[in-house]
Symmetry: C2
Subunit: 749 residues, 2 copies
């Protein structure tokens, strides 16, 4: 591969990107695609935006880029939550460090590489790529100190930038916690492993336990129920609600109903006992012992008491009365709460092993399928294709592209599979599940894309390299420079640039939408603003490019401009997507930051280790000796950051919690909060609306409404006091009218 | 090495043991050695025991063995604390598992090994040792399943025994916590990293902080001071006290003073302000900001509040207001409290690296010294020895024994060095320091004794083995069977049996005592009941023998009887030592148990991995396949135990703490406890008596007195309220008379 080939490839990819971006700027103006490109703003459509003139609609325009560029971090925080800010800061950090690296490396390293050996240089476009890498430097060259210097500059500026990013993120995280006075989850503790007793129900024994040991701070609790009859009942309710809702507000999301209220669907359904009796559903049964899970949310009077109870080991048997901080109400992953706590360690161990096995042996089945999908096999399996396959260009296409298509398809299965693993693991929150999957995908990517490619091709070779710890640096260095550089440059161009263009165009949802709307003629496609930001696939992707950049910065500086373009594009694209496409249904409060920090340090260390390998290969003992302390310093810096900044991301500082408590007490807001707590966690709402379209109506109307969702959801609650006559109360949302109005007066598109 | 050689070696070692044990049973009856052998009971000597008749004194007797055997675990708990019980349970577990292993292996494995190959067997004593190992089994033999079965039986019985030991130890630990209602440390939290402020002292800002955030539970606090002038002052006090004490109670430890009280040494010294002014010591200075460390003990009103505060992240800056559970008053390691918290991570990292380097490269300097200490070098260095060294037997002695003597000497430096490392690391408690050292010594022993010997000799070879992870099992198996077995059998005999005999005779203290008493003619030797149980050297030793036993059980079953004898002897000897020799100044409350549990599992897994290696070498794929699930099951069992039992050893269950709190509140004991707390932690007592002989008088009088030490120590306290006129109060112990009487009426010897 020479420079001209690289330029050609870059040209093609730039072309594809331009086309896709223009396409996007046109498609987004088509009203029929609004649910694809403006999932977030779906509810606002009818209020103020006018559909642009038909001519305007078909002219590409860069307005979305400008809007994405102009949006401040604070708006991103409001719209996408702290996780979105973390994602953006990760991109900003990458842009900064790679700008520095690009300047340093093109100024110092590139000329040295180019003039590293006495040779006749061709016209630059015809030059081979190797001429620009450390391959071209003579062994024992005294100019290698420049590489070492560049490595020092990059490492130190990375650490300094990382320090300030850490500081910034910590400040934001603290501000986030300080501003979360409305966050009811801070009062709640999830208790699992309630011991079985023959005399009393889980609920009673929980109440007895907490009134005995936490009398002063215990407020109330709410059991988690097994799903069964309830689920069926709720399904009925949901269908009924669906029907009535759509009848009363047909296809109009924002009209005010006559009288200002929606029909009291739930009242009609449930508040009349005879209906329940007709349906032969014994509601007392719901509270039966068999229906209760040994898990519950316990609410405390203060945030500090809840945090204390969540942290402490409650019982002298560590498998009983296990407490966690409760996730936010919308973040709870209900199905996993029913998993008995004593199963969890087994599930975790099993998933860990399964993930490890999957990571290492991922390539094996891929190779198998690839070998099955060759020309002769295909001809045997599908005899009718014989004629077609005999044509030369078709056979070329099949043999050339089919294997890589299979590989890419397999790669696409990884994020959903890792989400599945995280689910099986028993994560109690949706954000935790996604974060777990993110880590797994990250490991997967680093191993299967980075290391396997550097160790030139096969997993077996990679394992061999890693089974001789002493030789890792050299082995990586020999693999990295000549072969992998070319591959990764192409990878940045194709997988990097083009994936961004695809991300912005949202090919798959677009297609589905098209099919639903114009072929199946349905009103609502399957992608109507339903999807949250896929951190579990995007964070690892960006981090991988960071790793590539840092690793190859001094080995092959030509990769840096490509990466810089990628990161700048990514900055704009993801901003646009966060603002327009993805909804923010839950937020982990910046817990992705530790992943970013750790992976940045990991990338730095890998870069340094590979540099050590190169110095050894090039017989430069001085540079080798100077790089060792750099590794140690980087690790020490990491250790410092882990102690100074990261604890804030794991837990809440008592200081802040107590401040919030004291404020609320002084303002007399506590009683209102206690009242809200009773209906904050609603298992049955999840069951009823878990996958329903109606949920969107609440959510997609901008952040104003999201804040109100707490009060909006139908209050289906079980009171704690077990009085025999009580029935399930399903009352309509208290301030429904307010919500409907909110949707109407919502902000500009 | 054949059987007869082994028998000879065993015979010699048995002889040495018998001689030493008899010697011990004589020496312990000599009144002059009481401070060596009865450190614990020193104070009881004059009360009831009569010196035995001179004839009895020189007849060996097994009475100590009987006494050690008869003592129950509860007595051990009373005398040596929970740590001693853990140590004993570890020995009991070892005896049980190796009894089973010995029965299984001599019944199944030994005959199969012996008749493994068709050969003519010699008369057994002349048989080579290899005949009894798996070396003698034919490759591909179908009898290898018996080895696999034996491994299964041993592993499963080990797991079952371990499960019950875990259960038992957890029960004891919980009982220990439940019974610790007198433990004032449960009310205290050590706060470090108090932020510097220009306006107010550390003490004031701490008070402000805790009254703001923990108003309802904060009781009081006590600053930690830098040592300087105070130390000098206290040294003076101590010397004065020493002099006065010895003048008033010359050489008699238990007589009641006229009037029933000791002279008010401290009152005389400090309560008169003119003395202080004469000495030009500005006491106000003590409270000066420069003297305060940014660390303090904060006392809470309830145990639960203290535990909560200790666990929570206090400040939004994780390096400030860092809280730990306070160690018990006698357990505090004061010098380390003055270390700024922000240094700790650096110290920990540095010590970790230093320890790792020391572990790996320990052999290098030893080899260097050994090579320096050869005959020619010695002759050059000390020319006057020339004549002596030319004699044949001397030169044989030098060349044969000097290297191993050097090795042993180097090995003896390891435990103190590891204690030093733990000190540098910044451990805040004496027990924590010892436990840290214990772990380090354990790693050291397993690496430098076990793995280096198995990988046949040198560290370089060992590193090579471990740098090829795939081949570890085979490499270990090839190394383990033929060569290492002989070495380790000899090791059990010499280092095991004989070290026990040496332990009981206490050679070094005995010698020191002899020199001090009969040559220097001093009253008090340096070893007068001053030493606590050396867990950091003895726990790793016992665990190493456990590892040896499990590893070689099926490879060379002949090692099992030797080990069984070792463990039985150890059981008796250590019981005797705990009862008679070592004092129990502080107790970690059974925190050694997790080390034992983890190391038992590690030993099992190593044994299984080596067995896998043997099966591979012997080409028995069936056994190889059957052993893999065994490894997985063992690891799963470990995971289960870690979740079910070990959390109890790390932290206190809220349940128990709250129960204790409620009991105390109901009984109205709280006020008394708050009063005691004011003087519980006394930095200056430590300074004053840290290494003083007088401390013993308080401690060695049996557990009764230990419980009273709280009240006994002179109350040198700094009040929190900074009133300018206040001076250091050093008042005499309130109930001194009681203590003196206690010493007199103490229990039987």
């Amino acid at each position: 591969m020479d420079i001209s080939a690289l330029l050609t490839s870059a040209g093609i990819n730039i072309g594809i990107c331009c086309v896709l971006f223009s396409l996007y700027s046109i498609l987004r103006k088509q009203p029929s695609n609004r649910n694809v490109y403006f999932g977030r703003k779906l509810a606002q459509i009818r209020s103020r935006t006018r559909d642009p003139h038909w001519f305007e609609r078909f002219v590409p325009s860069p307005s979305w880029i400008i809007k994405a560029w102009e949006t401040s971090d604070d708006v991103i925080l409001d719209v996408g939550g702290l996780d979105a800010v973390v994602f953006m800061r990760m991109l900003v950090f990458s842009i900064r460090i790679f700008s520095i690296a690009a300047i340093v490396c093109t100024a110092i390293v590139l000329p040295l590489n180019y003039y590293g050996q006495e040779m006749e240089h061709k016209f630059i476009p015809a030059e081979s790529l190797e001429v620009f890498t450390t391959e071209n430097v003579k062994p024992g060259s005294r100019w290698l100190w420049a590489h070492c210097l560049a490595l020092y500059i990059i490492s130190f500026s990375a650490c300094i930038l990382l320090y300030f990013e850490n500081k910034n993120m910590t400040k934001r995280r603290l501000a986030y916690i300080k501003g979360s006075s409305q966050d009811l989850s801070l009062f709640a503790v999830l208790v699992r492993g309630i011991p079985w007793s023959a005399e009393e129900s889980y609920s009673t024994s929980l109440k007895n336990y907490f009134t005995k040991y936490h009398a002063s701070s215990y407020l109330s609790h709410q059991m988690v129920y097994h799903c069964g009859k309830i689920e069926k009942l709720m399904k009925n309710v949901r269908e009924m609600y669906d029907v009535l809702y759509h009848e009363s507000i047909p296809s109009c999301h924002s009209c005010v109903l006559p009288g200002g209220r929606r029909p009291n669907v739930f009242n009609v359904l449930v508040n009349e006992p005879e209906i329940i009796e007709k349906g032969k559903i014994d509601l007392q049964d719901l509270r039966d012992r068999g229906k209760e899970c040994p898990a519950a949310f316990v609410f405390f009077r203060t945030r500090y008491a809840a945090a204390c109870a969540a942290k402490a080991l409650q019982s002298s048997n560590p498998m009983l009365w296990v407490t966690h901080l409760a996730p936010q109400p919308r973040d709870v992953y209900w199905p996993n709460l029913a998993i008995p706590y004593r199963q969890l360690w087994l599930r975790r161990t099993a998933t860990l092993m399964a993930t490890a096995a999957f990571l290492v042996f991922f390539i094996a089945p891929v190779t198998l399928v690839q070998s099955l999908a060759n020309l002769t096999q295909l001809q045997q399996a599908f005899p009718f294709l014989k004629g077609l396959l005999k044509k030369r260009y078709v056979s070329q296409l099949v043999t050339g592209y089919l294997p890589s298509v299979i590989l890419v398809l397999f790669f696409y299965t990884v994020p959903p599979l890792m989400i599945l693993f995280s689910t099986i693991e028993g994560s109690i929150s949706r954000s935790g599940r996604k974060r777990g999957a993110c880590c797994k995908v990250l490991f997967f990517t680093i191993w299967n894309v980075f290391f396997v490619n550097i160790a030139s091709g096969t997993v077996i070779k990679t394992i061999k390299v890693f089974s001789q710890p002493k030789n890792i640096p050299q082995q990586l260095a020999t693999g990295a420079v000549p072969a992998a550089v070319k591959f990764f440059m192409a990878y940045v161009l194709t997988s990097g640039w083009t994936s961004l263009a695809c991300e912005v165009v949202q090919l798959y949802p677009l297609l589905c939408n098209f099919i639903y709307k114009f072929i199946l003629r349905k009103d609502h496609g399957p992608f109507d603003g339903e999807y949250t930001f896929p951190y579990h696939s995007e964070v690892p992707r960006v981090l991988l490019f960071g790793l590539l950049g840092l690793t190859f910065a001094i080995l092959a500086p030509l990769i840096l401009p490509l990466l810089l373009v990628y990161f700048c594009l990514a900055y704009l694209v993801y901003r646009n997507q966060i603002l327009n496409v993805y909804i923010t249904d839950y937020d982990s409060g910046g817990k992705y930051w530790p992943i970013v920090q750790n992976s940045a340090i990991f990338s730095l260390v890998v870069a340094q280790v590979i540099a050590i390998g190169v110095f050894v290969l090039k017989k430069s003992t001085v540079c080798f000796g100077f790089t060792i302390p750099l590794v140690i310093c980087t690790l020490l810096f990491n250790e410092y950051c882990r102690r100074r900044f990261l604890p804030v991301f794991k837990t809440f500082a008592s200081e802040i919690l107590i401040d919030l408590d004291q404020q609320d007490e002084q303002n007399g807001r506590m009683e209102a909060i206690y009242e809200q707590l009773k209906s904050a966690y609603c298992q049955f709402e999840w069951l009823a609306f878990g996958s329903s379209k109606i949920k969107q109506q609440y959510i997609c109307a901008g952040e104003e409404t999201i804040k109100h969702t707490q009060e909006l959801k139908p209050e289906i609650k079980f009171s704690e006091e077990i009085t025999p006559d009580e029935s399930v109360e399903i009352s309509p949302p208290a301030n429904h009218k307010e919500e409907v109005e909110l949707i109407i007066v919502d902000t500009t598109p």
